[in-house]
């Protein structure tokens, strides 16, 4: 599916928040590495997807009616075999069907843990589109260690913002940890900037977490608001 189609379709069905698979497809199209995300429309399909992705997997509800998936009992982590996937599918769908007849599940791999980072894009009332970068997960709120740059960003802006956060010490290999792939992070930041520039219908991008590894980086739970 083309990027523009994803957004048109979502808008046509009255959605501002893209589904995880749609957000993933948009990001992938501009070259941002995202964890695979498959749709399971039926139990067997979910199982098939899990086998192809490889265990362990994560099942999440995919429904317009469910915004806070975890609160709605719509997230099952660490599913290690076919039985677990089938059981999780039924649990999620039993609840979701009441809310939304069109509910599905998404199947994603359990991404190997890396340094948790955040890359985001938002529209500031003063500066317009800005890209954010910082330590992800709980650190976002606790440390408030985030750098901002105005779209469009140059490569030097991306590097500068990676180096400017206090947490950059962690990225460069703190104690015995290997340094993470700074180039991969820079690429993600620049591509988020480009996507924001090229697709004005996108209002917000939230890649939290991005797992940074010694080689490469991976956006795991992308959220895109249009």
């Amino acid at each position: 599916m083309l990027d523009a189609d994803i957004i048109s379709l979502a808008l046509a069905s009255g959605r501002n928040l893209l589904f995880a698979d749609e957000a993933g497809a948009l990001l992938k199209a501009v070259g941002i590495p995202v964890a695979p995300c498959r749709i399971g429309a039926a139990e067997d399909e979910a199982v098939q997807a899990a086998k192809e992705i490889g265990f362990p997997v994560v099942l999440k509800v995919r429904s317009q009616a469910v915004v806070h998936k975890t609160d709605a009992g719509g997230v099952r982590l660490g599913l290690t075999d076919e039985g677990a996937v089938r059981f999780a599918y039924r649990e999620i769908m039993d609840k979701a069907r009441f809310l939304d007849r069109g509910a599905r599940v998404t199947v994603q791999p359990m991404a190997p843990p890396g340094v948790e980072l955040l890359v985001g894009m938002t529209i500031d009332p003063h500066f317009g589109r800005v890209v954010a970068f910082g330590l992800g997960g709980i650190f976002v709120e606790v440390l408030d260690d985030i750098a901002f740059r105005q779209v469009p960003l140059l490569a030097e802006d991306a590097i500068d913002m990676i180096n400017s956060i206090k947490g950059s010490i962690i990225l460069k290999g703190y104690r015995r940890a290997a340094p993470v792939d700074i180039t991969a992070l820079m690429e993600i930041i620049l591509r988020v900037s480009r996507l924001a520039e090229e697709e004005p219908r996108i209002k917000e991008i939230d890649l939290n977490p991005v797992f940074a590894y010694p080689q490469g980086a991976l956006a795991v739970d992308p959220r895109i608001i249009i």
Binding site: D124, H126, F127, A147, R149, Q150, D160
Partner: protein, 468 residues
Amino acid sequence: MTQISPEGLHSVFYPERVAVIGITDTPERVGYNILRSILYGGFAGKVYPVHPRHEQVLGCKVYKSLDDLPEPVDMAVICLNQYATVEAVESCGCSGVKGVVCNAGGYSETGEDGDELEKRLIAAAEKYGLPIIGPNTLGIINNDANFYSTFYPMRIPAGKVSVVSQSGGVGLTIINLALDEGIGINKFIGVGNCSNLDFADCLDYLENDDSTAVIGVYMEGTRDAGRFVRTAGRVARKKPVVVYKAGRIEGADNYTQTHTGSSAGSFKLYRDILHQHGIFTVNSPSELVAACKALELLPLPGGNRVGILTHTAGPGVVMIDHLAQAGCIIPPLHEETIARVKGIIGADNPPVVLKNPLDAAGLGFSRPTYGGLAEAMLADDHVDLLLAVYCLHETWELPAAELLDAYKKYKKPLIVNFIGNWLGCRADRDFLQSAGIPLFTAPEKTAVAAAALVHYGTKKLEGGASYA
């Protein structure tokens, strides 16, 4: 909102004929003082005071209305109340005036009704393509044409620093700090509510104003921060721009909106994005003046390596705290420099540790010794910029002449930090600054001045700035 062209502003800053509308003969009123300011400032053009009921004010004939003037004017200063100002702008437009300063407050900063009134003011001006300075402003000064159009009559030395300020009070603070620091102001623009002339328009104008070499900005908020930072970034490639952004706390809008109707926005975003566009930012009016003074007087250093010469260690410690944060390096001295220093103070002189900062202790009291050490450090090719600290003393003189000699010999940027007060250092300040060497009396100012020079000096190396 139509964008104001820099050409349109030329008539405001370099008028030949000016109308002051709303002149009164009461010395505590704005109108009276605008006229006094223009006269006292030595404006060479013609001034036409306008008021329907006065005959003569401050020795000038007062005209009943714009239509009564013997000739058309280039610009008008409107010192009427907020309602009458709107009508005056309309009649200015009709009579071919090219730009106006509107002093009155009572617009968007006061709430909904005021906001509505400001919209009417803007609409009246834009019908005729008139730039409005203000409303809610102290006014403007163009020292390059002796045109002082604020309600604080003054005469200040001309200089190459121009200031754009959203506040009259902070603007006056900056002007007076500049006087204390011994530098002049070229243009002062009180943008006030920025109704149809925003910071970016002022920067556009000053970019091509040949008499302006450095631009200082005091900002609380702007309607189009995106355009402001892009413009500032572009202008800074041609001449240094120094920005002091206030309204930093969460909830700052409480204070900025009732001041100039502007929203302060997120300071974090301002800080990061000004940095992205290569703008040097400061944290107070006195830092703003210190940075502008150094940028006006000195050529830019070739790099970020700062040498410090002193005979008292503490000021160097204070400076380095600031310098390190600004990305400056305190390099080790060259071996040749160490040898040269030993030659000056004697090889076995015990109390002196030979490194950078070079603390000559008591030996540095001697002016010839101090001058020799300054030369040795300026000659060091590890040093891009020298900061020289010396304490004012009742018994001996400051080594101003020695420092000037050293500066002339090596043509490397030198900032002098005499520890004293203006009473004691004034003659030395004037002596050094007339030769292009800035003198400060506080280490934190010296450090900010050095950081500003290094900022634009190293930007130049990266191919960003190239100042003629």
